[in-house]
């Protein structure tokens, strides 16, 4: 019973992780991971700054969406 519950919870977590990944929500976490490993000791952008920077970069570098 507990085993089944654990599996269900694991499945739900997997789904949430996949969903957030596809929606692009993990971008900030990826950035933090990257930043930590390449610029240790330097303060990263805050979450707010990061998302502003991301959409501002899209302004300068548009990406197509297909039909």
């Amino acid at each position: 019973m507990n085993h089944a519950l654990a599996r269900a919870r694991g499945g739900w977590h997997g789904f949430v992780w996949f969903f957030k990944g596809v929606m692009g929500e993990n971008a900030y976490r990826d950035y933090l991971d990257y930043h930590r490993s390449t610029h240790p000791g330097v303060a990263p952008m805050t979450e707010r700054e990061f998302w502003r920077d991301k959409t501002d970069r899209q302004d300068r570098n548009p990406q197509g969406r297909c039909c």
């Binding site: 694991g10 997997g14 992780w17 996949f18 969903f19 957030k20 990944g21 596809v22 929606m23 692009g24 929500e25 993990n26 971008a27 900030y28 976490r29 990826d30 950035y31 991971d33 990257y34 930043h35 490993s37 390449t38 979450e47 707010r48 990061f50 998302w51 502003r52 920077d53 991301k54 959409t55 501002d56 970069r57 899209q58 302004d59 300068r60 570098n61 548009p62 990406q63 197509g64 969406r65 297909c66 039909c67």
Partner: protein
């Protein structure tokens, strides 16, 4: 730098890979090729049984669709035939391409690794990237083309969608993705310039720009036709704008980064907008306010397109994109589940009366070649080359994943096209033709539609006025006659399938407008993004002469270039909306031709690259779809330009109307006045001119690609433009499900301390 890494002609195209030495402190960054080969070659009885099962089920399904005649067919056979064929093609053909042509090397770092910046270049979990890539390539295209092609019967479309994708569409997506990845994520335009030289590169650039304009215009035309005279649709689709603005502000100021949260809020608001639309459309003021004619809606979309493309991304485009992605994944899952659960019966003949004729009322022209341009997205879509050489190659974690993402992603889009086809053929044929014949043929009235459809002499079709009025009432529309463009037909199909599952007849209106809503959402996002990309390309081009235009933050440049692009597609949109001959039926062939010509350009670039790699023995893998795409599109273009048949040839029609005007007639064909006759002359001039421009540019690109290929053949290869190989320091499995050997290796990586791993989605590695 790429010059120095060039291989000698005729040698291994990837010479540095043999000397790549990985960090000895890390587990292997690639599976030993011998282990992979052994795994591939090891045929256990269980594995053999599974593949025999898939082949048998696929075979039975294909015979049910293709051979059994005279009785209704269950829709489930379409699903099985498609899925089994995809599995076999993916496992055997795409693997063959990998082994013989692309030869990915996991020892090499991908751009996401060697150019990692934490923003654009980010190694992404393969399953997440698959979802990303799919959301970027799939849209309204695969939902529209198959619906229109259903006039020829179900079999031509089904065969082309399934066979086309495995031999052409998925091959194109995979190769472009792979070659772009090997070139640091360069765009198709940059690759064309590099591989084909200045003439081919410039022709490819202009063709891409022109093709984007026509594609945006025709997609917008589909939305206009779906929303014309539909207060419910107009209200709920316009509500997407304030909803997106709210989401944008929420993400910018209230809770940055809470993307899923805001998407769910947005989705709930969308549903509320659809339900609310139903109520508002029934009130007097609501129906007075939101019943708009097509020309007004077209102008609305033009104004919207301009504003949306100059507003900052965070305010409108980004939240729209989130909503669109959310809806894409959700509705496509819903459609698949519904078709499997409801399993509608199909009464449409395999080949209809119009398969062998040129006078089909939905789109004119004979099956050969017009089937292949009517269905572009889903079988072969050139537009994907822009995505496969855009964001996706910058996010690939390992080289070997390109097959799953590129080839596999396109198979999923093809499946969407099959489901759209099933939805379209599950509705009554009489209703199908009443909805999809232009108002020029039906007069836009129920009586006119009934008379017209029954006069077509279609077997088993006996349309009554009741059927049309009843359906219109069920889906909450004033009328369903001449709702051309494919979207309303798909929406009717979906509402018929879904209401059996949830909600009964009372919910048909909701499901209909739900379908209209998601198609409009996909299209308006594509219109917005397409305008931006096209503007960007134009700015870049003008910037070669007036440098200031290259500065994308210079507002006058942004506004001027956006205005030019919007004027371009807006003009064609208005022509389509006011076309006395119908609109969709005359303009849609241009959409398909444009998309397939872009595919020919992308494949031509791939051909040149493969030749330069010296892989002449397997050149046919690219040459086959390239030859097919070139022949059908060039031939379709030639028919559109030179055919003496007024139903097919743009210029023939143009001449007929000009002659009629010259001889002083005041009505001719479907044009009821001199003004309408002049409109036909103008429209056919635009259509004919565009056909000529497209085909000439494409012939230039293909000719330069063939010249490059021949040169490479004479030398036994050519100079590679690949980035120099750098060694990888990370590992991830290649396909959706990790093989035992991959799992073993992944386990070793998971045991490493965090700082030694580049893999970011670490805690999920085990679950592969």
């Amino acid at each position: 730098m790429s010059q120095t890494s060039a291989p000698l002609p005729g040698r291994d195209p990837d010479p540095e890979s043999t000397v790549l030495v990985q960090d000895p402190n890390l587990p292997p960054v690639a599976l030993d090729p011998a282990v992979t080969a052994a795994e591939d070659r090891k045929w256990t009885p269980a594995k053999i049984a599974v593949w025999i099962g898939i082949a048998l089920l696929g075979g039975v399904s294909w015979s049910m669709i293709a051979i059994v005649r005279g009785e209704p067919i269950n829709a489930i056979w379409f699903v099985f035939a498609a899925v089994c064929t995809y599995f076999i093609a993916y496992r055997f053909y795409s693997k063959f391409i990998e082994n013989k042509l692309t030869k990915p090397n996991d020892m090499r770092a991908t751009p996401a690794e060697y150019k990692a910046d934490g923003k654009d270049y980010v190694a992404t979990d393969r399953r997440v990237l698959y979802g990303h890539h799919f959301a970027a390539i799939a849209g309204a295209g695969p939902l529209v083309g198959p619906v229109l092609a259903a006039q020829m019967g179900y079999l031509p479309g089904t065969i082309w969608i399934i066979i086309g994708v495995i031999l052409a569409g998925a091959v194109q997506d995979y190769l472009v993705l792979f070659f772009s990845m090997r070139r640091g994520g360069r765009s198709l335009g940059q690759m064309a310039r590099e591989e084909l030289g200045p003439i081919g590169g410039t022709a490819a650039l202009i063709a891409t720009l022109a093709i984007m304009i026509i594609i945006v215009a025709i997609l917008a035309l589909v939305v206009v036709n779906a929303l014309g005279e539909s207060p419910w649709g107009v209200f709920s689709v316009s509500m997407t704008i304030p909803i997106a603005l709210f989401m944008g502000i929420y993400l910018r100021f209230l809770r940055p980064g809470k993307v899923s949260e805001v998407s769910i809020i947005g989705f709930v608001l969308l549903i509320a907008a659809i339900v609310g639309g139903g109520w508002i459309a029934e009130t007097d003021w609501g129906s007075a306010l939101f019943t708009l004619d097509r020309t007004t809606i077209a102008w609305g979309i033009i104004v919207y397109g301009f504003i949306a493309a100059v507003l900052p991304v965070w305010l409108l485009l980004a939240p729209r994109d989130y909503l669109s992605t959310f809806m894409k994944i959700g509705t496509i899952l819903m459609l698949a589940v519904a078709i499997v659960l409801v399993r509608p019966e199909i009464h449409v003949p395999a080949f209809s009366e119009f398969a062998g004729r040129v006078d089909g009322p939905v789109v004119p022209g004979a099956l050969w070649p017009f089937l292949f341009v009517t269905i572009a997205c889903g079988a072969l879509s050139g537009f994907h080359a822009l995505i496969a050489s855009g964001t996706t190659p910058k996010m690939l974690h390992k080289e070997k994943q390109s097959r799953f993402i590129g080839y596999g992603g396109m198979l999923m889009e093809s499946f969407v096209a099959i489901m759209a086809l099933v939805a379209a053929i599950s509705i009554d044929r009489g209703i199908y033709f009443a909805m999809n014949s232009s108002a020029a043929a039906t007069g836009g009235t129920v009586e006119g539609a009934v008379a017209f459809v029954n006069s077509l002499g279609l077997s088993g079709v006996n349309l009554t006025p009741d059927m049309l009025t009843q359906l219109a009432q069920n889906v909450g529309e004033e009328s369903v006659v001449s709702r051309t463009g494919g979207a309303p037909t798909l929406a009717v199909g979906l509402s018929q399938i879904m209401h059996g599952l949830i909600g009964g007849v009372g919910m048909m209106g909701f499901w209909y407008h739900f379908a209209i809503m998601f198609e409009a959402l996909f299209i308006l996002t594509a219109v917005d993004a397409g305008t931006r990309v096209a503007r960007f390309m134009l700015q870049d081009t003008i910037g070669n002469f007036i440098p200031q235009f290259k500065n994308v933050s210079w507002r006058p440049g942004v506004w001027i270039c956006t205005a030019i692009m919007v004027a371009g597609w807006g003009y064609i949109l208005i022509l389509g909306v006011t076309d006395p001959l119908g609109g969709i039926n005359t303009f849609f062939p241009l959409f398909g031709i444009a998309n397939q010509l872009l595919a020919a350009i992308a494949l031509a670039v791939c051909l040149a690259i493969v030749a330069k790699r010296g892989a002449f023995k397997y050149l046919w893998i690219v040459a086959l779809p390239l030859a097919f795409a070139s022949v059908i599109t060039i031939w379709a273009s030639i028919l559109k330009i030179f055919s003496p048949d007024v139903r097919v040839g743009y210029w023939a029609n143009n001449a007929a109307y000009r002659d009629a005007l010259a001889s002083g007639e005041t009505s001719f064909g479907n044009a009821k006045s001199v003004a309408e006759m002049e409109a036909v002359v103008r429209n056919t001039t635009v259509q004919g001119t565009l056909s000529i421009v497209f085909v000439v540019l494409t012939i230039i690109v293909i000719a330069t690609a063939i010249a490059t290929t021949i040169r490479a053949w004479q030398r036994g290869g050519g100079i590679s433009n690949e980035e120099p190989a750098t060694v990888s320091a990370t590992y991830a499995p290649a396909g959706l499900i990790a093989t035992p050997a991959e799992r073993e290796l992944e386990k070793q990586w998971n045991q490493l301390p965090d700082e030694l791993r580049l893999e970011r989605a670490h805690h999920h590695g085990q679950r592969s």
